[in-house]
């Protein structure tokens, strides 16, 4: 571990030096990185669209990030690999402004998504995860940043590679969903939503070409990246009766991942347009609120995210057959 930290320090002392003023030129140009060669290469054809200097253009408000810069490049080493630096201005838990410097390494590319770990400059521990789908244009990246226990949508705007004086722009703060939707219930007709919704697996099955090894590829990927990869589950929406109050919608969501199963109770549904939200409760419908479920109705599907504080899970459910 000590050796590895020394290697990281060697890189970071060169690469993530000046963040706010964007004075990092090419973090890897002309120097050895001191980092171990990643075991998986990202082909130039896959990685080139991501290479460059990027400013955080917009980020989920909950991340408490005000601005930031991401630099991605290939090293000048004998066998070049992708390496990045990430600098973030934000607030800590006590509301104090804070600068965090990190490297993004090692990069992998699969299913059209470039991924990298976010490793702290200060502690050299893994503090986050960055996922960037292939951009549609040349000047914007949209992806997800896992940071301080939460996973947030983030977009980056390309910065001119030679302009190193321009201050970083303030990141636009975006809300994952309207904070409080206008109407109580699941929709104009609650009963239209009742039934057992079926889980729709992600199209990004990392094990899809691995035959009988598919389970261990999924499991090892989830454990290695410290992620919860849902592979099955269900959503049961029903009417909750009460002697003292009018009937109201309730839900039970079960989500299976390799080696674990979560069961979450959903109450206090609200809706507005295509949006649906619910409180996530632990243990029962009367249990403590531990998170929030946010989804959109898209055709016959509920496409949403379950956030219970310690993790965020993307889940899609298909409307029950009538």
């Amino acid at each position: 571990m000590f050796r590895r930290r020394t290697q990281l320090a060697a890189f970071l002392s060169i690469g993530v030096a000046a963040v706010g003023a964007a004075t990092v030129a090419h973090a890897t140009t002309g120097v050895g990185t001191g980092l171990p060669q990643p075991r998986v290469d990202v082909a130039r054809s896959d990685g080139d669209p991501f290479v460059g200097r990027w400013a955080i253009g917009a980020i989920d408000r909950r991340a408490q990030i005000t601005s930031g810069q991401l630099m991605i490049d290939y090293t000048d080493t004998e066998r070049p690999f992708m390496l990045g630096s990430l600098a973030i201005y934000g607030y800590d838990e006590d509301g104090r402004q804070q600068l965090s410097s990190a490297i993004t390494y090692p990069y992998t590319f699969a299913d059209g998504v470039l991924s990298a770990r976010v490793i702290s400059q200060g502690t050299f521990e893994r503090i986050g995860f960055l996922q960037l789908p292939v951009p549609r244009g040349a000047d914007e990246l949209n992806g997800r940043l896992t940071w301080r226990g939460g996973t947030y949508r983030v977009s980056f705007d390309r910065l001119p590679p030679t302009d190193l004086e321009t201050p970083l722009p303030q990141a636009r703060q975006i809300d994952a969903a309207p904070l409080r939707l206008a109407n109580e219930g699941l929709g104009p007709d609650d009963a239209a939503f009742y039934g057992r919704w079926t889980f729709v697996p992600s199209r990004q099955d990392v094990g899809r070409t691995s035959s009988l090894f598919a389970p261990i590829v999924r499991v090892a990927t989830a454990i290695g990246d410290d992620r919860f990869l849902a592979d099955s589950g269900g959503l049961h929406l029903f009417e909750v009766e009460s002697r003292t109050e009018p009937p109201r919608p309730g839900g039970l969501m079960t989500v299976h991942a390799p080696g674990s199963t979560r069961a979450e109770f959903l109450t206090d549904f609200r809706w507005e347009g295509p949006w649906r939200t619910a409180q996530v409760r632990a243990g029962s419908e009367e249990g403590p609120v531990v998170g929030r479920y946010v989804a959109r109705v898209i055709g016959d599907r509920l496409v949403g995210t379950l956030n219970n504080g310690d993790l965020e899970i993307d889940v899609t459910f298909q409307r029950p057959q009538r």
Partner: protein, 162 residues
């Protein structure tokens, strides 16, 4: 039918059964490199072996932590190794031989990476775990199985949920 003719019929049936058994045993022995299998037989034999292997994988309790992952990889690797050994005994006809060789190579690479995965997991090396998993995925053993028509072998096994 007289008792004597019944005995003759019984004896004939027994001999026929014995002959079939010998032929069947001979068939197994002939799966060595000397007797190429026609495509349909090759596919049937490979699919049958993959079906057994997939059932065995489904019976292995899934790891839920890095501490359990090494043991899980070892057990899956043992199943993959047996499958590789079994399929290595089959000899395809010439038109299928290169595709079959590529499939076996992919299977072998996957098995080798399972050993790397086990080592990484036992050492608590999450980077190593991720890299080995990526390498197994990159081996594309299912894709190579599909190329040669092993539809059962090509299918991605579901992850057991319990």
């Amino acid at each position: 039918m007289t008792k004597a003719s019944s005995l003759r019929l019984l004896a004939a049936s027994a001999l026929a059964g014995l002959a079939l058994t010998v032929a069947a045993c001979g068939g197994d022995g002939d799966d060595s490199a000397s007797d190429p299998l026609p495509r349909a037989q090759l596919i049937a034999r490979a699919n049958a072996a993959c079906s057994v292997a997939a059932a065995a994988v489904a019976r292995v309790p899934v790891a839920s932590s890095i501490e359990e992952l090494g043991s899980y990889a070892q057990r899956i690797g043992a199943i993959g190794g047996r499958l590789h050994d079994e399929l290595s005994q089959l000899t395809p006809e010439q038109p299928d031989s290169s595709a079959y060789r590529r499939y076996l190579e992919a299977l072998g690479r996957s098995n080798a990476q399972l050993r790397a995965l086990q080592t990484a997991a036992d050492g608590g090396d999450r980077d190593g775990v991720t890299s080995a998993a990526n390498e197994i995925a990159a081996a594309q053993v299912g894709t190579y199985a599909a190329v040669i028509g092993f539809d059962v072998c090509a299918k991605a096994a579901p992850t057991p949920t319990s």
